[in-house]
């Protein structure tokens, strides 16, 4: 294995926020990985697109809201951020409903980019 070549590491997020901790703890991992100078990307697929939905307010739950935190991904070194087009459509959402700037991709594009990774981490 070549030591110097950065690894392609992709976070494949598929879970909804709030109902379980996976989306939040997944985000904590993504923010740490940015410091390691690898090729980091994140994709939001299935229910994970709901993590990016505008207008979330958790004050009545008494939990910490974190949808705004997804907006730091770019500055934390997560170079590519993809959202699955079909997952959005299934949930009646469009790009305008999201809190972050992302690249909306179809299954074919996703298939290709996922196939190029060295590591795929599910959250």
């Amino acid at each position: 294995m070549e030591e110097t070549k950065p690894r392609k590491i992709m976070f494949v997020n598929r879970k909804a926020p709030h109902g379980s901790i996976y989306a939040y703890e997944g985000l904590e991992v993504i923010l740490i990985f940015g410091a390691y100078d690898q090729e980091i990307s994140a994709v939001f697929l299935d229910d994970a697109v709901l993590s990016l939905k505008k207008g979330q307010d958790t004050t009545e739950l008494g939990t910490k809201g974190f949808s705004a935190t997804f907006r730091v991904l770019e500055s934390y070194g997560v170079e590519k951020r993809y959202v699955d087009k079909e997952s959005l459509a299934q949930r009646g959402l469009t790009e305008d409903d999201l809190v972050v700037d992302v690249e909306i991709v179809d299954a074919a594009a996703l298939r290709k980019v996922m196939g190029e990774q060295d590591v795929l981490l599910p959250f």
Partner: protein
């Protein structure tokens, strides 16, 4: 240390001296917290503290030091956008000291 008296009010702190309740923060509390860290608050110190509070307000996290230096440089000029500058202001570490004075939660600091 478990509490701080600020103009007659008792402010609760955690075992590391961070605010237990973020809503307790105001300028006076910040000055009292700075005193516990032996930091004399100058305008330059406030610049960082206010920046941290704004960042937290917007993104709900305290920025990592690497991100903080970059962002400070962008906001207040290149000569301030480095770790050395921030450590001169906050010798025990900007993540720990500046976040504490800014009333933010203790950084988990996993790296």
């Amino acid at each position: 240390m478990s509490s701080l008296d600020v103009s007659g009010k008792t402010i609760e702190l955690d075992e590391d001296g961070f605010l237990k309740n973020m809503d307790d923060w105001d300028k006076e509390v910040a000055l009292a917290l700075a005193k516990t860290e032996n930091v004399d608050m100058t305008e330059a110190h406030w610049e960082v503290v206010n920046f941290l509070r704004d960042y937290y307000q917007e993104y709900k996290i305290a920025p990592m030091i690497r991100i903080l230096t970059k962002a400070i440089g962008k906001a207040f000029g290149k000569e301030k956008g480095n770790t050395k500058y921030l450590y001169e202001l906050y010798p025990a570490g900007p993540a720990k000291q500046a976040c504490k004075i800014a009333g933010l939660p203790k950084p988990t600091g996993c790296v």
